[in-house]
């Protein structure tokens, strides 16, 4: 049965529409981890603690859902951390230095992010350089650009502006940014699972030659996915600016690997052609939850990263084993 036929079959049935077959294992792992974490420390499942997790998850999570789309289509983007710093810096500068309306400044920032994605996509598909190399280069280039523009100093942004409260404020105490994360995740899920473009994304990453033979515009699919992740990285960086009240040129350092990590933990194959948005949401939540429980439990500073690494490997191994049995 071809991947396209498999996908069509998956679309039937109500629950299966939401939880794709391969999502079940990561949902089981997440529930199992949450149960274990609650047994380890009863504070884990309190509203107060869950708010800590949902407050900071969206900045990584929004990038990770874009990364999922791109990896499924068979490419990487290592420049997301630099875009996360550069585009919001442009946004904050346009608003604070040039007096542009904050909403237009935000739109400009997102357009810059989309433009960076477009450039990554064009170089990768039209010049034929592997995206790993293209985005390694642009990662350094955009980090350099933000340093040049900022001279290394933070750019202030007013946290009490309506646009800042809209994207990083509180709604009855709940962090609004998490709602945006879920909104974008739903939009991306609909695009990936219920549109022709989503179908093309899977097939392009799964088998490029077959895709070309089927008449799928593979280059266009990849370029659009680069643009999506660029725009999402710009938006995620802007949310951090709204939350912190400053744009920093060193923001987003190491975020590219965290985003790829969240995507892979969620079951997306690095080889392309397979992965889900729900898996990535779970992957992002797992990363922050594991850190959270280890700190709640009082792990010593120098063992901290070791514990996080081990728990993530165990979680992904369990995910693979469960999925293997189901397959």
């Amino acid at each position: 049965m071809s991947k396209v036929q498999k996908k069509t079959k998956h679309r039937t049935g109500n629950l299966k529409k939401v939880l794709r077959y391969k999502d079940i294992s990561i949902v089981i792992i997440t529930i199992a981890l949450f149960t274990i974490f609650t047994l380890v420390n009863k504070k884990f499942l309190t509203k107060e603690n869950l708010f800590i997790i949902v407050k900071t998850t969206p900045e990584l999570g929004i990038i990770a859902i874009g990364m999922t789309m791109l990896i499924i289509s068979g490419e990487f983007d290592l420049s997301v951390g630099s875009t996360f710093a550069f585009a919001p810096f442009i946004m904050a500068s346009l608003s604070e230095r040039m007096g542009l309306h904050p909403v237009f400044a935000l739109i400009m920032g997102i357009i810059v992010g989309v433009g960076i994605g477009f450039i990554n996509g064009i170089i990768t598909t039209k010049v034929g350089i592997p995206s790993f190399i293209t985005t390694l280069g642009t990662m350094m280039a955009w980090r350099g650009a933000v340093l040049l523009a900022s001279a290394g100093f933070p750019q202030a942004f007013q946290r009490d502006l309506p646009v800042a409260r809209l994207f990083a404020g509180r709604l009855s105490g709940f962090p609004v940014q998490f709602i945006w994360f879920i909104v974008f995740a739903i939009i991306m899920w609909i695009i990936l699972e219920n549109t022709r473009f989503g179908n093309w994304t899977y097939v392009t990453g799964g088998n490029r030659n077959a895709s070309v033979a089927l008449g799928i515009p593979v280059d266009r699919v990849k370029i659009i996915n680069f643009m999506i992740i660029g725009g999402l990285a710009a938006l995620a960086g802007s949310i951090q600016v709204f939350r912190m009240g400053s744009a920093y040129s060193n923001a987003g350092l190491g975020m590219e690997l965290q985003a790829i990590g969240a995507t892979v933990i969620g079951g997306t194959m690095l080889t392309g052609g397979s992965g889900t948005i729900i898996g990535t949401i779970m992957g992002t939540i797992i990363i922050f939850s594991v850190e959270n429980i280890i700190i709640l439990s009082g792990a010593p500073a120098f063992w901290f990263r070791t514990f996080v690494g081990v728990i993530i490997i165990v979680a992904v191994s369990a995910h693979v084993l469960i999925q293997g049995r189901r397959d």
């Binding site: 933000v146 001279a151 290394g152 700190i295 009082g298 120098f302």
Partner: protein, 332 residues
């Protein structure tokens, strides 16, 4: 996609990004015009290279750079600052390249007790004077000629001593560190612990990470898991800023005191609100400025090198407004 369409879209993308850069660049230039008074130059014409372990995007090192560049202007010297972004091996490579460039003097931040000994000796053998700045090797012999900066352990102790008045015997303090193991973190936290031991306050170090979302989450998680915490004493500027925001966000202003280093954008307001009680300003401008001045004088008058302690400026509610004005001018 047709070639013409690709060309047009590329053109639009490049135009948007470059026009944004241009506009931001114009703003940067405007901001730079208010920075320190340029008092002319003696025109010594020397060339110096400074090799830092820091990150080019770190506001602290940007102030070091500002001090260095201003000294270069005052004394008419060309100065260049290279960053290794926390990579010791890369810093050694940069030092080798600096030696090859044949400058009149080199400044280096020494963040490892042995890694730089050989390359510093190599520069001295070639007749290039080397002094250290910002970080120094205080524990093992090192051929550098002088140190310009603050003693890290003493700085940490100074913070702890300042914060003693807000804590009492039996209290508990967490010490978040952006990069545990780095010499600044090791020495400053040791100094803080010395001061806390004096008054019977327990301490615990926390690996807080260096990305703001992660740092926020980890400090919040710690407070959640350790409600007995009475203070957050930070070894770096990033965690100092985030800790102040977390304490305010969680409404713990009357329970948890914050102290730390440097004046990142949200730290000043936190001091004004009384959340962050005090921060130590390492006066990074002077570290960059005096490194260049010392190298220039060593070349100009053949003066012997000597250590300069760049001090420990304490910023609290009494002087925060005055200092913030200088932060805007990129001097503090």
């Amino acid at each position: 996609m047709s070639k013409r369409r690709v060309l047009w879209i590329s053109l639009v993308a490049v135009m948007i990004i470059s026009s944004s850069l241009f506009m931001v660049g114009a703003g940067t230039k405007e901001a730079e015009e208010v920075v320190p008074a340029k008092v002319g130059g003696a025109g010594l014409g020397y060339k110096f290279i400074l090799v830092s372990h820091g990150s080019s995007g770190d506001p602290f090192h940007s102030v070091v750079k500002q001090g260095m560049e201003d000294a270069g202007l005052v004394y008419g010297c060309a100065v260049q600052l290279l960053f290794s972004e926390g990579d010791n091996a890369k810093q050694v490579d940069l030092m080798e390249q600096a030696i090859s460039a044949g400058p009149d003097g080199i400044g280096i931040s020494i963040v490892d007790p042995v890694a730089f000994d050989e390359v510093i000796q190599k520069a001295l053998d070639k007749g290039i004077p080397v002094i250290s700045f910002n970080n120094d090797d205080a524990n093992t012999p090192n051929p550098r000629l002088a140190y310009i900066g603050a003693a890290e352990r003493a700085v940490g102790y100074q913070l702890g001593k300042t914060m003693q008045q807000y804590l009492k015997r039996g209290d508990h303090v967490v010490i978040p560190e952006e990069v545990p193991g780095m010499s600044y973190a090791v020495n400053r936290s040791a100094g803080i612990i010395d001061a806390m031991d004096e008054i019977g306050v327990t301490t615990e170090e926390l690996d807080a990470g260096y990305e703001r979302a992660t740092t926020t989450s980890r400090i919040e998680s710690y407070l959640m898991g350790h409600p007995e915490t009475d203070g957050i004493l930070n070894v770096g500027g990033l965690t100092t800023e985030v800790a102040g925001m977390v304490v305010e966000d969680r409404g713990l202003e009357n329970k948890v005191v914050v102290g730390g280093f440097d004046l990142l954008p949200n730290t000043g307001p936190a001091i004004k609100k009384g959340i962050t009680k005090a921060v130590i300003d390492q006066q990074p401008y002077l570290q960059g400025y005096y490194t260049v001045v010392q190298l220039a004088m060593m070349k100009y008058g053949k003066f012997a090198a000597f250590d300069i302690d760049t001090g420990r400026g304490i910023v609290d509610t009494s002087n925060v407004d005055e200092v913030l004005e200088l932060v805007g001018m990129r001097i503090r």
